[in-house]
């Protein structure tokens, strides 16, 4: 048996203490570096296009109109019960859907999902309904849609 090994159970050797302290310091530094790096990878400012857009005065939209705004990825629809804004981003894999006027459905060109004007899935692989979006009136009396703000399905706006 080498010198220094015949110690009682539970006692801490100087070498053991230094090893534990060194490894702890290394672990702390590695963890800190990982956390800082992960933080670095998250952009703090995004230079992305605005999520709100102006549609126009409510009166300019006739009953039964389905307006498509592909640049903002949203539909603005006026039915007898009021206005609604639907995201045109397919809930399957994020393609932009288009309205098919022949069958009055919203159709996705990528994988063939079809949605009703309520956003409900009629056919295809989409796992859920299209998102309904927040609408508001601006000070000028124009409809504003925020594509980043989701509202519960069935939320109809009256202006």
């Amino acid at each position: 048996m080498k010198e220094g090994e015949d110690r009682r159970e539970g006692t801490v050797t100087r070498r053991g203490f230094c090893q534990a302290a060194g490894l702890s310091a290394c672990a702390l530094a590695t963890g800190g570096a990982a956390a800082v790096s992960a933080d670095f990878l998250r952009p703090r400012v995004l230079f992305e296009p605005a999520t709100t857009f102006t549609v126009g005065p409510p009166d300019a939209i006739g009953p039964g109109a389905v307006l498509d705004f592909p640049a903002y990825r949203a539909f603005v629809i006026r039915l007898p019960d009021g206005f609604r804004a639907l995201s045109s981003v397919c809930t399957h894999l994020g393609c932009i859907t288009r309205r098919d006027p022949d069958v009055n459905l919203i159709a996705c060109p990528c994988h063939g999902s079809r949605f009703t004007l309520d956003g409900d899935v009629q056919s295809g692989p989409a796992p859920g309904p299209l998102r309904w979006l927040q609408m508001a009136l601006s000070e000028k009396g124009e409809i504003i849609v925020d594509t980043a703000a989701e509202v519960p399905q069935g939320t109809v706006f009256k202006f």
């Binding site: 990878l41 998250r42 952009p43 995004l46 296009p49 399957h92 894999l93 994020g94 393609c95």
Partner: protein, 249 residues
């Protein structure tokens, strides 16, 4: 031969390569052992393992294609800016303006397709020859990582032309990432550097495609080749000599 001898038996040559060109066994081993590029490979291999039916040279083909991709990719980088919408214009310029640009771009594209295919067939070959069995099971795992890296390289390169196909391909792909439980949305945000496939996403994919993933692949390939040697050379079809092949039902 005199010219060869004069070339290889002077001080300058010997300072670089420490052995002559004599065809002795020792010299052949030294050629491999003392060369950083060859030393990953075995100094001696069985004649059987050099036959085409042992490996179909699929690993070598993959590596050669990777070399082609590295060279053509480096050249393409000289005319490409990873920014919106410059990337698309640069791609068009490479196609129609730059001398031999379309040839380089096509070479990069077809070599990329071929590499995915070659790596995949290499995996099939290893599987059907039972070459994944001990002691080679770890090298199989390294190979799976290399297959993933190849696919990721292929996929990150897909966005760089910044055309409709690229944009929607990556939109769909990163939405698949989002479907991953718990971490999905955060991981997609990190991958794209934002919420949409935009300028940040292009830059991140560019850095992954041109720096991070190739470096990881080179490291992986080094381990893979070294491990082949350490595991006792490649495992060919069955180890049977052709003369004996018909004797066992």
């Amino acid at each position: 031969m005199d010219v060869l001898r004069a070339l290889t038996e002077n001080r300058l040559w010997r300072s670089v390569v420490r052995h002559g060109v004599r065809g002795t066994n020792r010299n052949r081993v030294m050629l491999v052992m003392e060369n950083i590029f060859l030393h990953l490979h075995s100094a001696k291999v069985r004649r059987r393992s050099l036959e085409i039916s042992s490996t179909y040279y699929l690993g070598g083909i993959s590596l050669t294609l990777f070399a082609i991709l590295t060279i053509t990719g480096l050249m393409l980088m000289l005319y490409y800016h990873p920014s919106v919408p410059q990337a698309y214009d640069d791609m068009k310029e490479l196609q129609f303006v730059v001398s031999n640009g379309v040839f380089l771009r096509n070479m990069h594209r077809w070599a990329a397709h071929a590499m995915v295919l070659a790596v995949f067939f290499h995996m099939l070959r290893v599987f059907y020859h039972k070459a994944y069995r001990p002691p080679r099971e770890f090298n199989w795992v390294v190979g799976v990582v290399l297959l993933l890296l190849t696919l990721l390289l292929s996929y990150t390169g897909y966005l760089l032309p910044w055309d409709q196909l690229a944009f929607w391909g990556v939109s769909v792909g990163t939405n698949m990432v989002k479907a991953m439980p718990v971490l999905g949305p955060a991981f997609r945000f990190l991958l794209l550097g934002g919420n949409i496939v935009g300028e940040n996403a292009l830059l991140r994919f560019y850095v992954l495609h041109c720096v991070f993933l190739p470096l990881a692949l080179v490291l992986g390939v080094a381990v893979h080749l070294w491990r082949v040697r350490k595991d006792g050379g490649i495992a060919g079809s069955s180890g049977l000599r052709r003369a004996d092949a018909g004797k066992i039902p």
